[in-house]
């Protein structure tokens, strides 16, 4: 049994993670997981983070189907198998 979570990458950020739709990443909190992606893919991190410890406000992060802003934000704990979705505001139409 793996102890990773699945991170879903939106289309706009896929070029910064080697064109992957999703990544399996280990980590106990949302901040751990996104932090390790930031280390591995700095160009991805630059688009996701606004400061050292803050996500850009036009991007939402959901764990399974809940918004982390209304749980414990980047401290929201994760269990193996959880799905972390990175969801930017979709503007087209």
């Amino acid at each position: 049994m793996s102890d990773t979570v699945t991170v879903r990458i939106p289309t706009a950020l896929r070029p910064q993670v080697g064109d992957q739709e999703s990544l399996d990443v280990a980590g106990g909190t949302v901040g751990d997981v996104l932090g390790s992606l930031n280390t591995q893919y700095p160009e991805f991190g630059k688009r996701l983070y606004k400061g050292d410890n803050e996500i850009n406000r036009f991007i939402n992060i959901y764990v399974n189907d809940e918004d982390i802003r209304f749980m414990e934000n980047l401290q929201t704990p994760l269990s193996p198998g959880d799905e972390v979705s990175i969801v930017p505001a979709i503007a087209g139409g």
């Binding site: 879903r8 939106p10 289309t11 706009a12 739709e21 999703s22 688009r47 606004k50 400061g51 850009n56 406000r57 036009f58 939402n60 959901y62 189907d65 809940e66 918004d67 802003r69 209304f70 979705s85 969801v87 930017p88 505001a89 979709i90 503007a91 087209g92 139409g93």
Partner: protein, 381 residues
Amino acid sequence: MSQELERYHRQMLLPGFGEAGQRRLMDAKVLVVGCGALGTVIANMLARAGVGHLVIVDRDFIEITNLQRQVLFDERDVAEGIPKAEAAKRKIAGINSQVTVEAVVDDVNHTNIEKLATGLAGVGKVDLIMDGVDNFETRYLANDVAVKHGIPYVYGGAVGTVGASYAVLPHTVAPGETGETSWEQAGRATPCLRCIFEQAPPPGVNPTCDTAGVIGPAVSIVANYQVAEALKILTGNLDAVSPTMLNFDMWANAYKQFKVARAYDVGECECCKKRNFEFLDGKFGSSTTTLCGRNAVQLNMKSAEADSSAGGNGHRLDFDEIAKRLESHGNVTANKFMLRADITDNGEPYELTLFNDGRAIVKGTKHANVAKSIYAKYVGA
């Protein structure tokens, strides 16, 4: 069954619909903001369903690259060069003559959106606002009007193979009080769009349909999901309205319904909780100046992101990224102060210049509408 109802027989068979539901649709007034990919599907389906009065607003003209996904238009409309709102009105007249359509060819901005939603002659206050636009500035304006005047608003957005939709049944009073709308009385009010996305993506950050592409099914699914929510709202089936935000990527086969209810309870929304209508008040959003004698329009984009008093980080446009996206449209040059791109849109040549302070100049037109349309399509906001 009376003759005027016969055509709606199949939908009236549905539970919760019936003749009473149909009569409500026929009495309903809906504002469709934007009549492109989303807007044509929305207007088409609402007209077929028998929504009695449609106000369709769009600033653009039809071009050949629209036909791949904008279902109300055809080659003759392109050849005749007619505005989208007028073409939609003409098509709907042949689809359902029971529907009255008010076509408005105009840019939607903070000076006219309240009138469109609440004070158009012969229409008055609409029952619903449908989102068919291609930029977040207009969406936040529609959201402001919806919350301020207690009008349901259904968001939709699509680009590439992804889409999102969400129905706002707005809170009309301060937290702790219960407003008089049917949805507040029924305990069905939902967070507004700004509860969910606090800020618009800064210009140039997100792909647009004109730079990254889009497939018809993505917009059709979003628009028809919006229409389903609209039918629930207009027929009074409020308990069926989704309390979640749809988000999908058809290419990754990922379909999600994100929970959003806590965004109102826990969040500190400027719009629906604090009742500051910043876009309607003109605090954020763009302003335009026609540059006399130069056949050019200057746009000034005031985003919350660039406003340091709003806690923004003074976002600067990423010229490298934008240059990459625009290369397939024509010659692009950039340095650290500005980017200049030649763009041919609907057969007309334009020169787009972006400055790193958020200003943009669109050369090749004297019309603010055209300049804003070019900016939304090729830079994005």
